[in-house]
């Protein structure tokens, strides 16, 4: 069974490489600033001790005041998994850096989030709708849709 790292354990692994990138430590996750996302993700994947090579899922949550992106990843080497969170405060034009350069599997997940939540991922090679058709108005999973 994959061991789930607590927020404190995740923070211990990250702060050695990137101090000050963590905004707050939650029970099962850490919240980092979106400007540090690429650095932290690159460190988590490519550091041979951490080696979180499998990006399990990316989802987004609409909290009205801000969007929260949730990155779940697993290390097959140490059999552990962790949760990273990133907030996006701009509701009109939300933008978060894309992690497709680090995990190619993020491609479709980020397109899904763009399709249903309207968060644009800067640096994504093909930021188009994936489930709905081109020309659909609005982003249906936002809380203020309809």
């Amino acid at each position: 069974m994959t061991a789930v790292l607590s927020g404190r354990e995740i923070a211990e692994r990250i702060t050695g490489k990137h101090p000050k990138s963590i905004i707050s430590i939650e029970n099962q996750s850490v919240l980092i600033g979106s400007e540090n996302l690429l650095k932290v993700a690159d460190c988590l994947k490519n550091d041979p001790e951490l080696d979180f090579s499998l990006l399990v899922d990316i989802t987004a949550v609409d909290y009205f005041d801000y969007f929260e992106l949730v990155y779940r990843m697993t290390s097959l080497k140490s059999n552990t998994s962790l949760v990273l969170k990133v907030r996006c405060n701009n509701r009109e034009n939300p933008e978060v850096p894309s992690v497709t350069g680090i995990w190619k599997g993020a491609d479709f997940m980020e397109r899904e989030i763009y399709d249903l939540m309207g968060i644009r991922f800067t640096g994504h090679p093909n930021m188009k709708r994936i489930f709905l058709w081109e020309g659909f108005k609005g982003y249906p999973l936002r809380k203020d849709y309809l």
Binding site: N126, E134, F136, L146
Partner: protein, 208 residues
């Protein structure tokens, strides 16, 4: 779109050279805008008086018998009612009793479309295309709540509220999903409907 323009500058891009989504999107938008009203029942033009006074000749009876006894189904099952249709097909309920043991992979060989499942607007052009490809005479059974009215998803942003926005439906079988007995009852109703149909035979050279 600005994304389109940026595509050229990016190294990793499996999608180069395609406006497929945009043409598909405009196709769906036109279909959606043209499908606001429902298509009425094909028999609606007949009032009770005409239905009662129609003469059924022997030829009519023979052709209708042939048609209703070998309803071949087109394969077009978008969602979960297909499971119930499968159980109706296999040995326990055995649709072969009604001359329907053949599933046609090509819509050109099929008479009947059983619309088992939720239809999304993205899938709608394909279903309409399959219906258009079926040769006349053709019938449609709307199977399940989604086929009748959109069901649970009627107010959803992506679901067609009833197949009769896209294609004319002859028999509606409600239920979520309907039991195989319900589907078989619907098929029998369709067979009764076919049995009452008047057949027009066009002879070349004769004016109607």
């Amino acid at each position: 779109m600005e994304v389109e323009d940026n595509l050229e500058n990016i190294e990793y891009c499996p999608y180069k050279g395609g406006n497929l989504e945009i043409s598909e999107g405009s196709q769906i938008e036109t279909l959606k805008n043209n499908s606001t009203a429902t298509i009425p029942d094909p028999d609606k033009w007949m009032d009770e008086e005409i239905k009662r006074n129609i003469l059924l000749t022997t030829l009519d009876w023979a052709i209708d018998w042939a048609r209703r006894s070998s309803l071949w189904t087109a394969v077009a099952f978008p969602a979960c009612c297909a499971m119930e249709f499968m159980s109706a097909m296999v040995s326990r309920f055995d649709l072969a009793r009604f001359g329907m043991e053949l599933m046609r992979s090509s819509p050109r060989q099929a008479d009947l479309m059983i619309t088992a499942g939720t239809l999304t607007w993205k899938m709608a052009p394909q279903i309409k295309r399959i219906y258009d490809q079926m040769s006349e005479p053709k019938w449609v059974i709307g199977m399940g709540a989604c086929a009748c009215s959109g069901g649970t998803f009627a107010n959803s942003y992506s679901v067609v509220p009833g197949y009769n926005h896209i294609i004319p439906v002859d028999v509606y079988v409600p239920g979520c999903p309907p039991r195989p007995e319900g589907l078989i009852y619907g098929i029998q109703m369709l067979q009764k409907k076919i049995a009452k149909e008047h057949v027009n035979i066009k002879i070349p050279g004769l004016k109607e």
